[in-house]
């Protein structure tokens, strides 16, 4: 009989091998899915994973991969801290929106003034917007024990409504011929989030994402707080006896992930998206959950996972144009990836053993 036997120590080999295996399995299963849809599976998988990097237009796609990857990495790094400690912020999409709104509003308030201080102020406001939005589930959990999963998710829908409200209302472009949406922040020099090196896709959001990866790595390996986060996730009772204050951890983890998601929203709205509009958010906050897990909740892993998911986002776009695949198929694809990852994870913590039925 096949049985699972718990490993004394999680396998390091499997912890690294599972993401790769999951990607391969997703390609196979995804190919099968596309075959079912009547598309050539090999071509579809090639379009999604290969073309963005090595096709004729790869010079453009490569920078697009980075543009998609930055917000995913930035959000996922924040989420991973909480996920490690068993604090589930799944409303990053809402924090992303609120960061974009508050940061964007600060920029619009200065319009048409010019000044070096405007963009930094917007960045602060963006982080603050995400932070405040994440503080709602954090405070409700620490004060009343309310489930942060449900509250943070409900707040996504509230944020979407606020976004719609401001796009039609107070932040609407007065010269926009009545169309919903704010002024274009990318055209307004003081608030534009330009490429730091022209044409590379490395904008300020990219710099922030790389910085976040490094800081998170330092935090988790070198700082007492990182140790406490890891301890709370792996041995909650030991953490409590060790004097870790769980409430403080909830506030910190949700706060950091909220602020980072808000930053991602601000960099998106001032850069690639350009303006606040009712549908400027495209679900990065949810995709980032997959990135966090695929990256093993480790900053460097998240960097790689973010680039990979950025690749699939771009590849999905190409497949949509060239093969007529529905845009949503890439979402199903990403969901599958998480499934396979979680499924393969069993080998990290358990060992598969044959055992003869024992006579009792």
């Amino acid at each position: 009989m096949l049985v699972l036997e718990k490993r004394k120590v999680p396998s390091r080999f499997w912890a690294r091998a599972t993401p790769l295996l999951a990607v391969i399995l997703t390609m196979l299963a995804g190919g099968a899915l596309f075959a079912l849809l009547g598309k050539d599976p090999v071509e579809a998988v090639r379009t999604i994973f290969w073309d963005p990097l090595f096709s004729e237009f790869a010079f453009y796609y490569r920078s697009q991969i980075l543009v998609k990857a930055w917000p995913l990495i930035l959000i996922a790094v924040g989420l991973s801290l909480g996920f490690r400690a068993g604090i589930w912020n799944i409303g990053a999409e809402g924090q992303y929106i609120m960061g974009a709104i508050l940061g964007g509003a600060v920029g619009l308030a200065f319009y048409p003034a010019e000044g070096w201080y405007i963009f930094p102020l917007m960045i602060l406001a963006g982080a603050l917007g995400g932070l405040l939005w994440a503080m709602v589930p954090a405070i409700l959990r620490t004060k009343f024990g309310t489930n942060e999963i449900l509250v943070s998710l409900m707040l996504v829908y509230v944020a979407e409504n606020i976004l719609s409200s401001v796009s039609f209302g107070i932040l609407k472009n007065p010269q926009g011929f009545g169309f919903p949406g704010s002024r274009n922040l990318n055209d307004y020099a003081a608030s534009a989030n330009m490429d730091l090196i022209e044409g590379t896709g490395l904008h300020w959001g990219g710099a922030a994402a790389l910085l976040a990866v490094m800081l998170a790595w330092g935090l988790l390996t070198r700082h007492i707080l990182g140790y406490r986060i890891r301890l709370s996730g792996e041995a909650p009772r030991a953490a409590r006896f060790g004097g870790v204050d769980p409430d403080r951890l909830v506030l910190i983890c949700l706060g950091v992930s909220g602020a980072l998601a808000g930053l991602a929203g601000l960099f998106e709205v001032t850069g690639p998206a350009g303006q606040l509009s009712p549908d400027f958010n495209v679900g990065y906050g949810f995709t980032a959950i997959i990135v966090a897990f695929l990256g093993r909740l480790h900053p460097l892993g998240i960097l790689l996972a973010g680039l990979l998911l950025g690749l699939t986002e771009v590849g999905g776009g190409i497949a949509q144009q060239n093969l007529g695949l529905p845009s949503a198929s890439i979402k199903a694809f990403q969901g599958m990836l998480l499934f396979f990852l979680l499924a393969m994870d069993v080998f990290t913590d358990y060992r598969l053993r044959f055992r003869r039925e024992e006579a009792i």
Partner: protein, 310 residues
Amino acid sequence: MDYSAIDPALLLATLMISATPILLAAIGELVVEKAGVLNLGVEGMMITGAICGFAIAVESGNPFLGLIAAALAGAALSLVFAFLTQILLSNQVATGLALTLFGLGLSSLIGKPYAGIKPPASPRLDIPLLSDIPVLGPILFRHDPMVYVSLALVAAVWFFLKYTRAGLILRAVGENHDAAHALGYKVVRIRFLAIMFGGACAGLGGAYLSLIRVPQWTEGMTAGAGWIALALVVFASWRPWRVLLGAYLFGGITVLQLNLQAAGLAIPVEYLSMSPYIVTILVLVYISARKGRGNLDAPASLGRTFHATH
């Protein structure tokens, strides 16, 4: 502004309809959680049920077949969750999230050709005599059959959990899976069945949305209904009749805000649209604050991984 357009009797009647999808999903999730499993994939199963039911109903011209297909689709999707969490011992929170993300993607993939189509009309069941009672008749007894099915389901779940041996075993598994295992109960098998029941209910709830309540297919149409169903189970303290109460309260708020939107209340539409979500948060806060920390009503093994060592 014209409040006279709001007819209280009609309001109450539509309340039952708007509550039915979340009631179906929530009563299913209640059974799952009673068995000690937290499936956060309700939203994904609901929306998959919504599109599968819609597609089958359109293709066959029979809404009843659509509902059956939706229940099967929801159960099939929940089987993935069951396999991952029960056999491969994956984290339930993460797996549930994956289920929701996958379901949202899959549904819009399947649903692409079905946008903007009208589904076949579902027959209304006017209960003879009772439906002719003034006022009460139109409110309570002139609905489609699924409204009564959902009510019957609440009663059945209540009876099952409270008065049957199988229900007792299911609760035992949810309270302490190690003890239940030691007594010889098949923890994994029981949880598989509970998860599939939950999946079928969620699928049915989704199909009710796309086939009867709206009736139309639009991408992401569940708009958090699955998450609200999850919140309802907490609100109800894991008790079937309170799920009914919660669903109808929630349905009432939804219908009321829609009516106020239609009546042109001076509050912007967006603020009315967000009210159901805010109310859900407030209710969750109220429930958790009243109980203090540590939910005493939650099944003790909820969300914990079961690994039999012998």
